[in-house]
């Protein structure tokens, strides 16, 4: 037991699974409901209700600390207006209905037109929620139109990694945060968005360690407060800055020639494939990115560019790059991801403790569900592709469905789905765990016709999306169901149901199984597997079928475990082996690939592609990009140019608009705004202006301001010299407030490779209202 504990990082205190305090209080582990950090919580339950949440000291992610959202995650379950019964729109109004009615209505609509139905999911889906929807849509209906809100969140990071080293998800892990000497924040504000990871870095200073933080941003934030250097760049200038650093490294002859030679190939082009490029051509190509050019397009001085490049030139310095939405929500999101890897590859600062390029993920299971399960139009579980016949065949075999069941044409991505719904090319969509009528950019152009389509929404509270729905299904939330999430550092974490969902609310997985079963009863041929059985056929240990579409049966069985074990073989297709369910139960999460060592013990992997840690690395390679696109075990250095953004401020719309989150609220605030403490701290959206601009326009804090773009307009109170300060000529608005929908104003342009929209830059006019 002692040895096993060591292998699993000491995280086997399974006795707390049912630890009961003196007063009938039970504490059980669950990953936090909110961001992609994946903090471990212990949830206190008494008399069938959550009464407290504490940070889990045993979880290596957060080591006992939570942020204000995490501490209040339990309060978010108890808003008085929880949805507790299905609702169906009758005569224009949502009216209570039975589950049978609701499930029947959905099934009949799908049966009416299976190919024009779509599914829009979430990075807050549990692993098995995403997996069951994939099986239902792609393996059942033969319809690939499944995409998640993660498309709006981390698609650029995914395509960045795929084009760079051929397989998704980071090489490094949070341990690198403890060991780095310098952190470079690429348009990133972890002090508000990944607070516990930010503390993990900043609080090292309290212990006498030196950690330098360079904030490369367009707006001064709480993270700037903790930074040693703030380097401001003009929106989109990051492309030029990254290339400028690479040019200086080579100019100074400080690039790591051995590392580049062993581990990299070079390619050029605008797409995901590109053409080979020689080293000399690459060096010549970089000549554009002189300090003068970088100053011109990015507004970064030579002194500051040099400061950045010096951090990478110093062979003894361990450098960590962090980014999240600043680089991903970018019309050249894939390119800027590629370019940041370039900086780390050229300096050899990759795959070493403390030195890596680490993409932070926004949602709690964007990695575990959207990326690993692959709940994307073009993808199949385990990092495989719809477009490849052998991948489809393999997937059909795993699902035991007839050959040819999975349609060969990739499904639509998020923006295409909402465009098709707007135009009527798609007639229906089922939305789970997300709120598109608030979050899709340019709402007027993409969601104004949603109410005319067959819109099914599974949610826990009324939202602006449920307001438009044809059918609303009340869902179980967080510890009201069994679940599995995968966080930013490849850590898969499991939890058990702790309390009952309120009223007649039911698990999202069950909802999908029930509709699938109804379709089976109505005779849809896709709801049968190869043996003529129902698509979702589960059997207990004795081989007896489990009729999981019946709520009582579903509740009495751990369907999560069965679905997860069905999913697990998929992960072995691309060296993403996740741990068996029963190992997850014992651990505070395990980082994949999780494999058995010679002694037969399960071990996790801290750093991927690194010999001695990653079991799939060929001996003697040191670092092995075993899924490298060119089949040469190498990663790609990409020549990606600076290009101007699609919309820039002009005379009529002279300001940049940047949007984002705030510490207190999770995404659209549907859960966190119902927590009195969080709502009181951050009750409404505002617009931040630079004080110089505010003075010019005669705007004071609290004044009403009108923002106008080519797509829409919005009234907001101003906040000047508040929590953050945008650069001159920029305004910032958070998107959590359903009463002030900033996405009426934002731009719908997206990265041509990742299809991820740019919420960080468009042009607006600003005036005192």
């Amino acid at each position: 037991m002692a040895a096993a504990t060591a292998v699993l990082g000491g995280a086997t205190h399974s006795h707390i699974e049912a630890a009961e305090g003196a007063d009938g209080l039970q504490w059980r582990k669950a990953p936090c409901r909110f961001c992609g950090t994946g903090c471990g919580t212990l949830v206190g339950v008494k008399d069938g209700r959550v009464v407290a949440v504490q940070g889990d000291l045993e979880n290596p992610v957060n080591q006992g600390l939570l942020c204000v959202k995490g501490y209040h995650a339990g309060v978010a379950l108890y808003g008085k207006d929880r949805l507790t019964t299905p609702l169906i729109r009758k005569n224009g109004k949502l009216a209570p209905a039975s589950w049978d009615e609701a499930i029947d209505a959905i099934a009949k609509e799908i049966l009416r037109s299976p190919s024009t139905f779509s599914f829009y999911g979430s990075g807050q889906w549990t692993v098995t929620e995403g997996f069951s929807v994939m099986k239902f849509m792609k393996g059942g209906l033969g319809n690939n139109h499944v995409d998640p809100n993660a498309r709006l969140c981390m698609a650029s990071a995914v395509v960045g990694m795929l084009t760079t080293y051929g397989v998704d998800e980071p090489s490094g892990c949070y341990d690198d945060f403890d060991e780095c000497d310098t952190v470079i924040l690429w348009g990133n504000n972890p002090a508000e968005m990944h607070p516990v990871l930010w503390s993990r870095i900043v609080d090292r200073r309290l212990r006498g360690e030196k950690v330098e933080i360079i904030d490369l941003g367009t707006r001064r934030t709480r993270s700037t407060e903790g930074a040693d250097h703030y380097i401001e760049f003009t929106p989109q200038g990051d492309l030029a800055v990254a290339n400028g650093i690479c040019r200086l490294l080579i100019k100074w002859n400080k690039h790591d020639k051995g590392w580049i030679e062993r581990h990299c190939n070079i390619r050029q082009g605008e797409d995901g494939v590109g053409q080979p490029m020689s080293w000399d051509d690459y060096v010549k190509w970089l000549e554009t990115y002189t300090p003068e050019y970088v100053r011109e397009v990015a507004g970064v001085s030579e002194r500051k560019l040099t400061l950045l490049a010096e951090r990478f030139a110093d062979p003894n310095r361990k450098a960590l790059s962090l980014w999240c939405m600043g680089m991903n929500q970018h019309t050249r999101g894939t390119w800027i991801n590629n370019l940041v890897y370039n900086v780390h590859f050229l300096s050899g600062k990759f795959g070493k403790p403390g030195s890596t390029a680490f993409s932070l993920t926004g949602q709690p299971s964007a990695c575990g569900t959207c990326r690993e399960v692959g709940t994307l139009g073009h993808a199949l579980p385990g990092g495989r592709l719809v477009a490849k016949p052998e991948h489809r065949a393999q997937c059909e075999e795993f699902w035991n469905v007839p050959a040819g069941r999975i349609a060969p044409k990739p499904g639509m991505h998020t923006m295409a789905i909402f465009d098709a719904l707007q135009k009527g090319d798609l007639t229906g969509v089922w939305v789970q765990v997300t709120n598109p009528a608030q979050t899709i950019p340019n709402l007027n152009g993409f969601t104004s016709r949603l109410k005319d389509r067959f819109l099914v929404v599974s949610d826990v509270y009324p939202t602006v999306t449920t307001d438009l729905a044809t059918v609303v299904l009340p869902s179980a939330l967080w510890v009201e169901k069994n679940g599995i999430y995968g966080n930013s550092e490849r850590r898969t974490q499991q939890w058990f149901k702790m309390v009952d969902p309120p009223g007649d609310a039911r698990d999202d997985v069950w909802q999908v199984l029930a509709v699938a079963r109804r379709l089976y009863e109505l005779g849809h041929p896709g709801m049968k597997n190869k043996d003529g059985e129902f698509l979702f056929t589960f059997k207990d240990a004795k081989g007896k079928p489990i009729e999981a579409w019946k709520w009582d049966v579903f509740k009495a069985n751990n369907i999560d475990r069965l679905l997860y074990e069905e999913y697990r073989p998929f992960t072995q297709m691309k060296h993403k082996d996740v741990a068996p369910y029963d190992e997850l139960v014992k651990a505070r999460g395990l980082r994949w690939p999780v494999t058995k060592n010679e002694a037969g013990q399960w071990r996790e992997t801290k750093r991927r592609f690194v010999e001695g840690d990653d079991p799939f690395v060929e001996a003697g390679r040191g670092v092995d990009f075993y899924w490298g696109k060119q089949g040469d075990h190498k990663a790609t250095i990409w020549a990606r140019p600076y290009v101007a953004p699609p919309e820039v401020p002009d005379e009529k719309y002279p300001f940049w608009l940047c949007t984002g989150r705030v510490l207190e609220h999770w995404h659209t605030g549907t859960m966190t705004r119902r927590v009195p403490q969080l709502n009181a701290a951050m009750p409404e959206a505002y617009v931040e202006l630079h004080p110089v601009n505010a003075a010019e326009l005669g705007i004071n804090t609290g004044d009403k301001v009108r923002l106008k773009s080519r797509r829409g307009e919005l009234l907001l109170p101003a906040w000047i010299n508040g929590r953050s300060m945008p650069q001159k000529g920029m305004v910032f608005v958070p998107f959590f407030d359903e009463g002030r929908l900033i996405n009426l104003v934002t731009l719908d342009a997206y990265c041509p490779l990742s299809k991820e929209p740019d919420y960080k830059k468009c042009a607006v006019s600003v005036e005192r209202a």
Partner: protein
């Protein structure tokens, strides 16, 4: 030397009041309450309406109306551990967990004027843990909660704390010499049950 005698006398009197108060507490435990009903004298400004959601939740900043700053460093101007008990004739709770520096990631402003979003919340938070155990009536009580992030007892048990848990002898600084933390409250120890 002269000034010490009255303090000890006062402390003795306080201890008597304390003991009497504790005796009254021996009544059967009431049902868990919504914490919003718990108020306390606030020394720094606006009287709070919102309070922490449950025992163990980070308390909100009660003086949001007075101090507009959003900066973590500003919190420590008054709440640094070294300031301990008083500053400018006001009792100020010192930081109980000096190992963390990012105050505002957990402590957010309590703004009593804000109306609930859409509707009320029915959450009922975990109440205070109750008393520690004592070997006899004069023995020092044990610590009935875990001590992670509670390294500086005076933060809650000092002059700014709830009167029921105020120390009668704040001038004694080595609390854990006499008040032992109960191992059963600590997950990380064998057999620990992990209360807050």
């Amino acid at each position: 030397m002269k000034t010490r005698i009255p303090i000890v006398l006062l402390a003795g009197a306080a201890a008597l009041v304390w003991t009497a108060a504790r005796a009254a507490d021996d009544a059967p435990a009431a049902k868990p309450r919504v914490f919003a009903v718990i108020t306390r004298a606030n020394t720094a400004g606006v009287r709070p309406v919102t309070d922490r959601a449950f025992f163990g939740a980070p308390p909100p900043i009660r003086h949001a109306g007075i101090i507009a700053s959003e900066r973590n460093t500003d919190c420590l101007q008054c709440h640094a551990k070294e300031n301990r008990i008083e500053m400018r004739h006001q009792a100020i709770a010192p930081v109980p967990h000096a190992e963390f520096s990012q105050c505002t990631q957990c402590h957010v402003k309590a703004n009593p004027a804000v109306k609930p979003f859409r509707t009320e919340n029915t959450f009922v938070g975990l109440d205070l843990p109750g008393k520690g155990s004592r070997a006899h009536s004069l023995a020092p009580p044990t610590v009935p909660h875990k001590t992670f992030m509670r390294g500086n007892c005076i933060a809650c048990h000092g002059p700014t704390g709830l009167w029921r848990i105020k120390s009668p002898h704040p001038y004694r600084t080595q609390c854990v010499q006499c008040h032992a933390a109960e191992a059963k409250q600590d997950f990380t120890r064998p057999g620990g049950k992990g209360s807050l």
